[in-house]
Symmetry: C2
Subunit: 404 residues, 2 copies
């Protein structure tokens, strides 16, 4: 058998695509007989126009999934001619999250280039009306519900507590101090930003609720939601006491390593994930409807509001989103004519709401990892890995070996 080559499509958030190498690591190393594991990551060098890349729509125009796939095609051809022995070796695309979508889509659009794809936590159906818009946040809520008595309920009650305090200047001042904010809240409008920031924090915790210490978005302890929930046991506390507990919880997320002197609401994740690129894509083709109802989830009710998104996109980038394009381009749920794709999803991961969680055919396979958060299966092996992720990896490799 020829060697296998893996092209790992990681989060692609710069216009155009990706340079490469970060070879040969990760969990596959000891499990298959080969390797070049090419981690196509978002690196600064992959900005096709350098500092100009985000400057205007002329440059941003290249930041599309189609362009990323075309770049992978050219990259693979280049690698096949430059790496000794690679010419006739089968290639497998691997990716997580948006990278997982790219991996799946790459197999769909360029099946002559890769024998198959592993699409981990790839929400390829979080578009149009393919899935209910509320499932995503109800999964987040379930994660908190299961991680401690009173936990989800405390968060649900926190919104009103903030609303109550934010009507007075004294209340806003108190909130600013209690949450150790770098920039104090000056209006009830700022309190909306506080709530959004908290919501994103809970969502991010659900994504990185890994069984061991990790630092994917932030440095965090094992099962971080359980840790956070230790502060959130009593949902019936008076507003200020409740919110002091909420602060303890988010402080664990933002300040687990210590040494942070104030919390900055403008940052929810590390900058390295290229938020700006992602927001631009969300304003063009990656339109993912999301909503909350406050009943099936612990968030304030918010309908999916496409028009508001569209206005915001126009204001920020001078573009209008095109919500049906991804469906036209990649087929929505009608993908059964493709082959050799494994879709893995974590049961704890809110993105599984838009993922493929049932087999579509003999070679379009869904693997669910009940104890897994966001693409846990793509992370390095760890002694604390649950059985379910170990089995998922073994199964993924079993399928890969059938591709050639």
């Amino acid at each position: 058998m020829d060697q296998y080559y893996f092209i790992q499509a990681m989060k692609e958030t710069s216009p155009g695509s990706a340079t490469i190498p970060v070879l040969c690591g990760m969990w596959l190393k000891n499990l298959m007989p080969c390797w070049y594991l090419l981690n196509i990551d978002i690196m600064e060098e992959s900005l096709p126009f350098g500092n100009e890349s985000f400057s205007d729509s002329k440059h941003l125009n290249y930041l599309t999934s189609e362009q990323a796939l075309a770049d992978f095609a050219v990259l693979i051809e280049y690698l096949k001619t430059t790496i000794a022995g690679a010419r006739y070796s089968p290639v497998i695309a691997i990716g997580g999250s948006y990278g997982g979508m790219l991996a799946a889509w790459f197999r769909m659009k360029y099946p002559h280039m890769v024998v198959g794809a592993l699409a981990a936590s790839a929400p390829i159906w979080q578009f149009g009306d393919l899935v209910p818009c509320g499932t995503y946040f109800s999964i987040v809520t379930n994660d908190f519900r299961k991680s401690g008595t009173g936990c989800a309920e405390s968060i649900r009650n926190s919104w009103n507590a903030i609303n109550n305090l934010s009507v007075t200047d004294a209340g806003l001042q108190w909130l600013s101090k209690a949450f150790l904010l770098c920039s104090p809240l000056r209006s009830s409008q700022d309190a909306v930003l506080l709530k959004n920031w908290l919501s994103e924090t809970w969502v991010n915790l659900a994504m990185v609720n890994y069984p061991y210490k990790a630092d994917f978005l932030q440095p965090l302890p094992a099962w971080p939601i359980q840790e956070v929930c230790k502060f959130l046991k009593d949902p019936s506390l008076p507003d200020k006491l409740l919110l002091q507990n909420v602060f303890q919880a988010v402080n664990l997320y933002y300040n687990y390593s210590g040494g942070v002197s104030c919390l900055d609401m403008s940052e929810t994740a590390t900058k390295s994930l290229g938020q700006m690129g992602w927001y631009y894509q969300a304003c063009t083709e990656m339109v993912m409807p999301m909503c909350t109802d406050g009943v099936n989830d612990m968030f304030e009710p918010q309908k999916w509001d496409f028009d508001a998104l569209s206005e915001e996109c126009y204001r920020l980038w001078n573009v209008r989103p095109r919500p049906s394009w991804i469906l036209s381009m990649y087929g929505g749920k009608n993908i059964s004519s493709h082959s050799n794709i494994v879709f893995s999803n974590g049961g704890l991961d809110p993105w599984s709401a838009g993922g493929v969680t049932q087999n579509i055919s003999d070679s379009l396979i869904a693997i669910v990892i009940p104890d897994g958060a966001h693409h846990l299966d793509l992370r390095s092996r760890n002694p604390l890995d649950p059985k379910s992720v170990q089995q998922a990896r073994a199964l993924e490799i079993c399928y890969m070996k059938q591709w050639n």
Copy 2:
């Protein structure tokens, strides 16, 4: 069974793609139980920037096969929502020539949108080094060889006859008169243009060598090469007599309807095929290597010269061709993971040189029509149709019925 809808991808030679309707006609009408046969043709209205469409590379940038496919995707979605009953009807892509390539590629890239494709005379392999560059012209030559004794040989000898005459002014004058040229030849360089124009004429005759009167590129009699060859029986004639016969032959092509007062070397086909668009595409992604050797064909020997093409493209459009891109994009010969495509090719058609003429799998089917010229099978039925094309159409429909 739901109705079928056919999207016919005709020659796409304007930037962006195609408007439509020209419904329900052609040979399928009496053979399958339905239809909307949507003839996506090159119409003036399909120019996305009107008269500006060809003005500069900014506008021409949209003239790519990928953009044409994306346009078809959007068009199909639109038609499905606007034609009563179309929503859940299967769609089949049909096309000839470049349109045939688009039909095949559309099934490859958007299999969720069409249940299959009929790619007639689609030279999807006339790229890179997938096929020998000389086969195209040797097929043309065979057509003439088979159509009359001395015919191909007369043409082969005509080049030297022209060369001999074009060294003197008197010779150039004689040539200009003998060929009834609208603009007289002024130099031996002009004589090269004369030879190129004659070559293109022979090639075009091979493409439209239909068994009945037709006017695809020009109004022509049945089996026009046989008619032409009636003038070209004696290859051993002296230069002037030989060339007078050659004139009779090309005059049949350009002046079959009569009434043409002079022949214009700047036109080989009708303008409606959008030559300009095609030349631009040949200068970007549609790079098709061609060559002649004067031994296996009746033309003057000419190697494939990519550098010359590249220079010419740079001069004309300020672009450089990218010869490997079509292979990267559409897989070259490595297309076995796709399904439900019938490739039909005419044995008389030079484009069959780059076509798929052998089955690739149970659902990637090659049909060869020995007596067929360029996509004869897509033309209206005719009493003079050879058996081979009748059988080919029956087989095409048989396969189509299996797609759903």
